[in-house]
Homo-oligomer: 291 residues x 4
């Protein structure tokens, strides 16, 4: 839906459209309906956040409790809002092993018992390992600190949902970007037509996230990840450099000294720009966090 349509809609339609931005909490949308028109998405987002911040403690607690458990029974049963389902799926929480599912169950129970509300995290900003790590860490918080931490995550979730559901001249999110560049320092040219794969590493698991091929400038047409937060996670980039040098006809060993070049790294800033280039010959390579 477009922002100008939301500005023009009657109140009921407005609330229907934005009632799920804050999980099961249409009162947030209701409270800002009369503040229309909003010149930009940022103004709408600020207004909704202000409503939550000004709400009394019991309402905030109800908002917190409106969220489903992470990888909980509702997730298994598919009984979540469409947004929550998509979000939890993006972090791989829909395909947990039995051991992981039990680990989440154990953490959810401990967390509920200590804080009285479910663990909330903007899962689009995390890989599975990072969610576990955050879960463990936040279990150590005081109740007041954890309430603030949960709200911060709710605001992050709301902003991403607004961006996704409302088309407006402005965008809320400062998205991260993961890019690469393959340079053939044997010939002093960009390495073109190199197949590049990106996997997320999770425990001993490797999940292929995307694959691409470098163009004449040695880059992939699109960022490896872009237009969304970069999930905090461990990754492995793989460059099929053996095939590249074979096509170039460079005389090499048999088997070639370098074939698949893996680069393992972690992303810690979901809104950062990670440029991870490769300079490579058949006998050497280098990489670094670039910009």
């Amino acid at each position: 839906m477009r922002l100008d349509e939301l500005n023009a809609a009657n109140k009921a339609d407005f609330v229907t459209a934005l009632g799920a931005i804050y999980e099961h909490s249409p009162w947030v949308a209701e409270a800002v309906a009369n503040k229309r028109p909003f010149a930009a998405l940022a103004a709408l987002n600020d207004a909704m956040r202000a409503v939550v911040i000004a709400a009394d403690a019991s309402r905030v607690l109800a908002l917190l409790n409106a969220h489903p458990d992470l990888a909980g029974k509702a997730a298994r049963a598919g009984a979540m809002t469409a947004d929550s389902k998509a979000e939890q799926g993006s972090a791989g929480l829909a395909r947990l092993s039995e051991r992981e599912f039990e680990e989440f169950h154990r953490l959810n129970e401990s967390y509920h018992k200590k804080f009285g509300f479910p663990f909330i995290i903007c899962v689009r900003r995390h890989g599975k390992e990072s969610i576990f790590r955050q879960f463990e860490r936040r279990l150590g918080n005081t109740i007041a600190a954890e309430r603030d931490a949960a709200l911060l995550e709710i605001f992050r979730i709301a902003a991403l949902r607004l961006d996704q559901h409302v088309s407006a001249p402005d965008k809320l999110a400062v998205h991260g970007r993961l890019t690469t560049h393959a340079l053939d320092t044997h010939a002093g040219i960009p390495a073109a037509d190199v197949v590049v794969e990106l996997c997320e590493l999770s425990g001993a698991e490797n999940v292929l996230i995307t694959a691409g091929v470098t163009d004449a400038s040695g880059r992939t047409d699109e960022p490896l990840i872009g237009g969304r937060p970069l999930p905090i996670a461990r990754y492995e980039l793989r460059f099929m450099i053996g095939d590249y040098f074979a096509r170039r006809g460079v005389v090499r060993a048999d088997p070639p000294f370098l074939d698949v070049v893996p680069i393992r790294f972690a992303i810690a800033e979901p809104e950062g720009h990670y440029h991870v280039p490769l300079t490579v010959t058949p006998w050497s390579y280098a990489t670094y966090r670039g910009s």
Copy 2:
């Protein structure tokens, strides 16, 4: 047994001692017993090889046929000479999957049918993948070329067996060496106390070959592989660099950009020196085939 003892032994003892250098073929040792004394192991080796080269075709064929199938029924049943058993085990042929075992069976049959003798290869110079590759390639040879190829392998096997069983002032084998070196280019010093693991990659399998820790000079005390031929294979070296920089107290991201640094490379020259160093900061690294 020492070379001088072999020189002094009676003929029967000499033949008993060296009867298995050429598989089930004591006639090779017999033929050189009267040429004693041998001043060096190289002279003994040359003499035995000359006997084989001068032998008539039927004797050579018998020698070829005295060898067990690679990963064949004899291997499964444990019914091989001690040397063959140890050799086939070193290349991981003792722990094949059912699929690999059948693949060897199929190759053995095709090979026997075409050449009339079993496939012979100096397995200590190869990893499992390389053995399969050699097998496929040599199946394409002419019979004459393959007979020569098999003899070359038999001479390689014999030289390694002599080195292993006879202690002498000289050694026959020019052994390969795989070494590494970790340099911390963040601090301009060798990276000490870095855990390094070496795996052989075989299909999707990772077999840990050895692990070590770098010393104050950034090197491991011993070569990662040394004192034997380097098996032709794909490898992955892993440097636990995240732990290293954590111990040094360098401020890093969470999770750290670099944690385990993997270097995948292949060895193609069993008698070569492969030096695979790592120069590393928390944000960059480089490697190359050094010397």
Copy 3:
């Protein structure tokens, strides 16, 4: 002057405006005046070149002879067209040593004697050393080959002059670009505020071409050379990296291991893009021809 103005001008004004595009040869402009209007600068350039190519041998010889000697008496006396003066000055031919002046004199004499016209080269595409090298090489040409070589240079000169004197929607020249990028792989960030100097090396001489400071992205605001052909020459880039790490407060040796980092390289393609980055810590650095 604008292309549309040239299209609308009377013939005399048109010829006056473009009479010097081909040195002292207004007949080239005259011959295309009636072909107006030209939709683009490229069409005008093609038309003028076609006139030269179609001209008879004596006219072409006259055109060749209309050019001044390189660093000749006319240059010394300042008796050249404004274009020639600016062009020869750009390659440092206005500040020759006595020895170099005599060397040019000697080459000019040999060349005249062999070919019957002066040595012509598009000096904006060359540094001083490269001009000498071209001079020596082309002295070995046959007369026919050299006549073609001279015409090619004249067409290059004409295109650059047209670009400079006529403003039009299109540009003729595919200009080269020299850029750099400084990355601090000690901290995993771009190296900002690094002073960078570019010198042209000529014999034992160092001529400062430009200097700049890297911005927050580790790049200079402008290409080090851009908007013109890159003179074929040897260069030295200098990065004041000692000052940079001192400002960052990195503990270093006294004096620091690295202070001024010089990168010496040559440009061979005047229309190419040369990207010469530096990845650097206080103890290491790397560079490569990038893109």
Copy 4:
């Protein structure tokens, strides 16, 4: 002279032999003559140093004053002990410009006026720039601190003189070492037959210290500097890499992108090991402080 000969000599000969270890101060040798025999050079050195440390203030002042000015009138006139003359010469103090000579004169005067004795420094551990820097810094010391600093330098001088004049089973000095290594990462082999030059940079001056050629392992036969302290100074290593790749027949640009590769660095630890390798292709290179 050999240590055992010194142990056996009569006292007068012993004092004659070692009277100049401490500048114009044979009383130091005299005081240890009766403590003979010395089992090792280290024991002799310790004993002589202990004599100086135990001496009363006036004797120490006399010892300090027995030293010549650095680059002073005595140096100009050649009126110094043989040791001092060789030492000052090694740091290039024998070939000062008029401006540098005056600068030393000015510093010597200021120093004498403040401390009442000449500036003493173990010049074998410094280049010219470093001597100037030390001079300026030590002028800021208190008299007590400076007396200690001067004695430390005298002990360093004495140890180097003992090593030079007395042959013994042990050596006193832990000498520094500057080594290099050229690796061709285009071919994955050591870069052999590469000419390497080492210059000391002093102001705008370049003084060639040594030159060598890499062997089959990519190293120079001898350390670039070894068997002596490494003078604290700025250096430039130059690798003639263009010639190397031309000989290898690698297709390159004209002129080649890389020809002479200069690496500028400083040595700060005279007793350290500096390994400054180069990994290089025709289009890229890297260096680092190795070990």
